[in-house]
Amino acid sequence: MKLNIRKLLTTILMLAVGVAFILPFIWMISASLKPESEVFAYPIQWIPEELKWSNYKTAWSDGFPLYYWNSIKVTVITTLISATVSTMSAYGFSKIHFKSRDLIFILVLATFMIPAQAILVPQFLLFKYLNLFDTHVGLILLNSFSVLGTFMLRQFFMGIHDDYIASAKIDGAGHLRIFSQIAVPLVLPAISTYFILRFIWTWNDYQGPLIFIRSDHLYTIQVGIDKFSNESGELYSLIMAGAVSAILPLLIIFIIGQRYVLEGIALGGVKG
């Protein structure tokens, strides 16, 4: 392959723009490893002379391990339930024929338009009434029935030719078998995409725990870091260590699964 000089120069230029774009991340990591007195030193010393890893140790000595564990628990369970619910209903709405199916689908889909904040008051009441307020179960249920996944996966199920299903039926297979042995394997890449996206959205969810969790020991990392930053006042290096801890696991998951995430976004035009 011949190297194109113009393309190479553009790449270098764009690389500079790209680095400038992620400077906030670089600054954050850099500040998290500095002694407090050097955080705002100017000109910025991007690589601190001495890496102060103890900032992380201090930040993590508080409630962080617990917040992390809570986040992992809530995120993994929510993602599993949401992916299952969405895959099932996406199949139901595309491959099974029953009366008023499409009408019900449009009704369910229309709820996507409702901003989460508009129904917070009755949801709060409902959760109090059902004793789900200030519990992880409540938080999990809150994010487990997203219509978005159903909409996205339905598009993929519709891509499966009906003949596949029909011939499996003639062979005596019921929908449960067709679903698990034919349909799901065929759309597995799309399910993986949704899985990663739902994981990211749930991990980053702040509004849910802000309103529906009150006890400190049930905090997820997002509320935990907000509380930590409010309590740490001017200890910016520690706050940055906390912020890096909140972002890093997701960045790693994203970079590993980037192909799935980006292709999924491009195909479905989905927006959390």
């Binding site: 393309k7 790209g18 992620i22 906030p24 600054w27 209903s89 904040q117 003639i170 980053n204 972002i247």
Partner: protein, 315 residues
């Protein structure tokens, strides 16, 4: 037995099966359908549809969280009348309208980057990942970092501006005239990656032959951009515009962590004001009226989308 005999036998057998099957097929299908959509339907009904009706109902009452349900009084349209005279609510709507500015800014920057990245660079997926990073980062962490970057006296952004010779750089989040601008800058930064990925996908779908034909006719790069790229991207633009505008009305987390609506009410948006009324002032009835007005607004935007798509997007 010859091959065709086997086939005939198979067809006969399967047609017998088919007949037996078709007798209760409709019933079976119905139950299978109910089984598969039930979890979603029950979840959505209880967690979204029921609350939306409840919101509507509560919006006509003077109810507050601290009162028991028994003390709920029906007050008709009073909440709505108060809202339309509530200066802070009006201010929140105006702020929301300003916040929409972030949508076209994001789109223009993302399109510009997408065009360069699409054809003219190596390591394309590297660039995609870089620009997408803010989108997947937690808003809380992003807001905390930007609070420091925008720090009026010793934040790196103002240090940099002062180095460039700007004597009195804006006080960003601490100044009620600049706070909303700061919020817009941060939302552009976080949402560029999403638009970029969508634009890249759309650019790849434009047939290369269109450009080749234009080149034969002697079109310049600018001609090609204006007469091929722009019109072919119309549906994408429209999609990004609508999702962006709706998204800007849902901007809640960034405001809560970053500014709490302040200084003053300079960054309060509708959803923030709603949250404040509901969970800090505990005025559930009043907050529900805000919810309903917000809903009507978003419904109107969605309707514009439905009808607009047919009218404005054509090639």
């Amino acid at each position: 037995m010859s091959k065709s005999n086997i086939e005939v036998a198979q067809i006969q057998r399967s047609s017998v099966k088919e007949k037996k099957y078709s007798m209760n097929i409709a019933k079976k299908e119905k139950w299978a359908g109910i089984f598969f959509i039930a979890p979603q339907l029950i979840g959505t009904s209880i967690l979204v549809i029921l609350p939306i009706f409840a919101t509507f109902f509560i919006s006509f009452t003077d109810w507050t969280f601290i009162q028991g349900l028994g003390n709920m009084n029906f007050i008709g349209l009073e909440n709505y009348e108060k809202l339309l005279k509530d200066e802070r609510f009006i201010q929140s709507i105006v702020n929301n309208i300003w916040l929409i500015a972030s949508v076209p800014i994001t789109m223009i920057l993302a399109l510009f980057l997408a065009i360069i990245i699409n054809k003219n660079v190596y390591f394309k997926s590297f660039f995609k990942v870089v620009y997408f990073m803010p989108y997947i980062s937690s808003i809380v962490a992003v807001a905390i970092v930007f609070q420091l970057l925008f720090h009026p006296s010793y934040g790196p952004i103002n240090e940099f501006l002062m180095m460039l010779g700007i004597e009195n750089p804006p006080r960003w989040l601490a100044d009620s005239n600049w706070a909303l601008v700061s919020v817009i800058i941060i939302s552009v930064w976080t949402s560029i990656g999403f638009s970029l990925i969508i634009y890249l996908a759309a650019l790849q779908n434009i047939s290369i032959e269109l450009y080749e034909a234009a080149e034969i006719d002697g079109a310049t790069a600018w001609d090609k951009f204006i007469h091929i790229t722009v019109p072919m991207l119309a549906p994408t633009n429209f999609f990004l515009l609508i999702t962006g505008v709706i998204g800007s009305f849902k901007a809640f987390e960034l405001i809560v962590v970053l500014t709490d609506g302040g200084p003053g009410y300079s960054t309060s948006v509708i959803v923030y004001y709603l949250y404040e009324q509901a969970f800090e002032n505990l005025r559930s009835g009043y907050a529900s009226a805000i919810s309903i007005l917000l809903l009507i607004l978003l419904l109107a935007i969605t309707l514009i989308q439905w009808f607009g798509q047919k009218k404005w997007v054509n090639y």
